[in-house]
Amino acid sequence: SAVISQKPSRDICQRGTSLTIQCQVDSQVTMMFWYRQQPGQSLTLIATANQGSEATYESGFVIDKFPISRPNLTFSTLTVSNMSPEDSSIYLCSATGLAGATDTQYFGPGTRLTVL
């Protein structure tokens, strides 16, 4: 499988600030996604990052809070805006279409965010 990297791997932020997380895949992929995993919970899909157009958000997530970019087939960013302690989570990007595997989602290493 291709390598998916995320930056930063972790961060501690003050409430009211914003953080942008980067996701880089070392080969072109079909789809990229952003998930959130709150403490003790499973993964929840935030949005599908569409290349060259606006992301598709799941119920409960809005663009103003989680703006997403995907300027090309190998890179995406997620911004967590105006953060509050409730945003403390692991944020994960994933991708499909790696090595021809259209259905299998592979995950990046995650970004652990703590908001004080």
Partner: protein, 111 residues
Amino acid sequence: EDKVVQSPLSLVVHEGDTVTLNCSYEVTNFRSLLWYKQEKKAPTFLFMLTSSGIEKKSGRLSSILDKKELFSILNITATQTGDSAIYLCAVGENSGYALNFGKGTSLLVTP
């Protein structure tokens, strides 16, 4: 209402034991079921299942899907301490590429 339900939520076994993890689902247009192992942050892909009755196997891990009864099991034989992790089950639907994740089973293998 959870679309994917895993059981048990947690499990403690001794090295060498065999464990069976369960995943039941209820989705409208099933496409695939995936198992992941999560040790720290990143879920690591284990298996993808699309057809009933066909066992997928990798070393000591195996998994099978029953599309009639809407469940899957993940078996781990001769468990080792390195198998300690959260095992996640996820189901994909034909309506899109998003995955519905269960809450996971936390497995602890003690020496």
